[in-house]
């Protein structure tokens, strides 16, 4: 199972990095989401992989348990990355709508007061 989880994290990260290096915003955003999925699975695994174990200590008998802290961390990470993805989708959408161009890179002479930037 370790190999499966590790390769899943690896493949998702690799695919995410490939997509981030694309030139249009949509694949870049997809790549960012893939990477955040990868990091969520990775965070989950930092508490060691344990099957069918509760995330709490049992004070009556000595049973296996899984580390609850990574689960709390991953919850925070999911919420934050979800929110961030929503933000970048909105900004990318308005950037696309206002400039009719979804390339991620800017022209060398782009600046906020360059003449003729109003599309």
């Amino acid at each position: 199972m370790e190999a499966l989880v590790a390769s899943a994290v690896g493949v998702m990260t690799a695919a995410g990095i490939f997509l981030i290096l694309r030139r249009r915003t949509f694949p870049v955003i997809l790549g960012l989401s893939l990477i955040t999925y990868a990091v969520n699975v990775f965070l989950f695994a930092t508490g060691r992989l344990a099957l069918n174990a509760p995330a709490v200590l049992n004070k009556y008998e000595d049973v296996a348990y899984t580390d609850p802290l990574p689960q709390a961390l991953v919850l925070t990470a999911i919420v934050i990355s979800f929110g961030m993805t929503a933000v970048i989708v909105m900004i990318a959408l308005s950037a696309y709508l206002s400039s009719k161009d979804d390339h991620i890179d800017m022209k060398p002479d782009d600046s906020v007061d360059a003449p003729g930037e109003d599309a």
């Binding site: 955003i29 508490g47 580390d67 961390l73 961030m84 970048i88 206002s98 890179d105 782009d110 600046s111």
Partner: protein, 514 residues
């Protein structure tokens, strides 16, 4: 427990939603509450700085959970100083934003501004690495809103780049924290320091990976070469008062490097031996070099000031990477100075851009040309590090501290040549913008000013009195930092001494039983 410690986070955290939910249609009330909030923050910052200056480290346990299990806020001299700097910077910027009318060019400026302050103060105060991540995200998500404030096609495109870059940075941060947690089983910084020291050297491969990833994340925030690519386009295209506030954000990266690599991965920990000295220092030298070349090569004033920010981060990180007590004291003095100087130049650049556009080329003289030129002159002197302002003292301290360092020649050469190129670059920009405009050959522009978009020209005339007053406030801050360099340096030395005896911090957080 001393509840003042949590106040710099709670005050903006309450004020910002209040502004959004109750005052969203009342710009005047928003402004009043926003200024009041920043003044309140300044008062709180002064109080906690006074409390911290005694030298004892205070711990605030959130939810009253004891230290390694719950999240702690820690108030020591460094965090108090950084919160004070944040508040000192925020006051003139909020006044400038109001005076120049920037806050009415989009929605929710003041609310986002206070969320940003909350994130910055939280990042400075927290004693938990994952909580540091959370506060980073708070300040980033507010900065996304501020960065695209006012809209416009180019600004939004720059915003997409900025958000994408920082999302990758946040993901790296999570990878780093996961790795460190997987090895040590803790994310409390003081606890981390204890655990890291206990790990046998042959088991540290993963931890080393985690430490390097973490350094990379902080270097992205601090815009260290080669991770600085996000900064020029973002800062130059952000509303410039916001860019002035962002001057503190790169310092959050520098602060995190100082905090984590003196405490958790300290200088005597074998795991990260050579990480700061061997890797960060050349990167910092390159940062300064590229920053100054950027100053010389920019054809737009906002971009030039953004490169000034990179160059000053270079100087700052050189001082940090020397990693001695005197060098750290110099770095702390320089943090204060460079934040104010960069902010000053951004505000002056905004005045220039509002009046004549930002291109560094001769145009007809603008309104209040002489006054703005004088302010630019002051900012340039401060940033380039010429006497009589605090930049000179700061650079002198850095140079002095590096005298006994092994590669002092390189440090001296880069800082001195860099300062010279900065002077040339700023002088070139100042000449072209302010002096050449009186050349008879330059014809006045047809009718309209070549300003941003229709939305801006439809706003009422800015009230320059308040804007100028706030810029003069920043100048006064720099002057005070110069006049009271002695007390400031005493405080900085005390802070550095505290940083280099992490045992006090650890025993304060963990209750001294370990």
């Amino acid at each position: 427990m001393n509840h003042w410690i949590v106040a710099p986070i709670v005050l903006p955290a309450i004020l910002a939603p209040f502004i959004i939910m109750v005052l969203r249609y009342h710009l005047d009330l928003q402004r009043i509450f926003s200024i009041a909030g920043v003044v309140g923050l300044l008062g709180i910052a002064l109080t906690i700085t006074a409390q911290a200056s005694g030298g004892d480290i205070q711990v605030y346990e959130l939810g009253d959970w004891p230290a390694p299990f719950g999240i702690v806020l820690v108030l020591d001299k460094l965090s108090a100083m950084m919160v004070l700097l944040t508040a000192l910077l925020a006051l003139p910027i909020v006044l400038y934003a109001i005076g120049s009318g920037w806050d009415e060019r989009g929605k929710h400026f003041h609310a986002l501004f206070h969320f940003q302050l909350m994130g910055v103060c939280g990042a400075f105060l927290t004693g938990d690495a994952f909580n540091l991540f959370v506060f980073f995200e708070v300040l980033l998500i507010a900065s996304y809103g501020l960065m695209t404030h006012g809209g416009g096609a180019v600004r939004l495109k720059a915003g997409v780049q900025y958000v994408a870059y920082n999302l990758i940075g946040s993901t790296l941060f999570l990878f780093a924290l996961g790795t460190i947690y997987g090895v040590t089983g803790t994310l409390n910084m003081a606890d981390l320091a204890v655990r890291v020291a206990e790990i046998p050297p042959e088991d540290t491969a993963l931890l080393r990976v985690g430490a390097v990833l973490l350094l990379l994340v902080f270097c992205i925030k601090a815009a260290v070469l080669p991770l600085h690519f996000w900064l020029p386009a973002s800062y130059a295209n952000a509303p410039l008062p916001v860019a002035a506030l962002f001057a503190i954000m790169t310092k959050v990266g520098a602060y995190s490097i100082l905090r984590v690599y003196t405490l958790a991965f300290g200088p005597d920990v074998a795991v990260t031996d050579g990480l700061i000295g061997d890797w960060l220092q050349p990167a910092a030298l390159l940062t300064l070099a590229v920053g100054t070349i950027g100053i010389l090569g920019s054809n737009h004033i906002a971009r030039m000031v953004a490169f000034c920010a990179i160059a000053s981060m270079g100087t700052l990180l050189i001082a940090i990477s020397l990693f001695s007590e005197t060098a750290t004291a110099a770095a702390l003095y320089y943090i204060f100075h460079s934040t104010l100087a960069t902010a000053l130049l951004f505000l002056v650049a905004d005045m220039v851009m509002e009046r004549r556009g930002g291109a560094i080329e001769p145009k007809a003289p603008m309104a209040q040309n002489g006054l703005i030129a004088a302010l630019f002159f002051v900012g340039a002197i401060a940033l380039a590090g010429m006497p009589p302002l605090s930049g000179f003292i700061g650079k002198l301290l850095v140079l002095d501290a590096s005298r006994d360092a092994p590669d002092a020649t390189a440090v001296w050469a880069v800082i001195l040549i860099g300062s010279f190129v900065t002077i040339v670059g700023l002088a070139r920009a100042g000449t072209l913008i302010f002096w050449k405009s009186y050349d008879a050959a330059i014809t006045p522009p047809p009718t309209e000013e070549t300003d941003d978009d229709a939305q801006i020209s439809s706003t009422p005339e800015p009230s320059p009195g308040l804007a100028f007053a706030s810029v003069f406030g920043v100048v006064a801050g720099l002057a005070l930092l110069t006049i009271f360099a002695g007390p400031a340096l005493t405080y900085a030395s005390g802070t550095a001494a505290q940083l280099f005896t992490p045992d006090d911090y650890i025993s304060a957080v963990l209750g001294g039983e370990e």
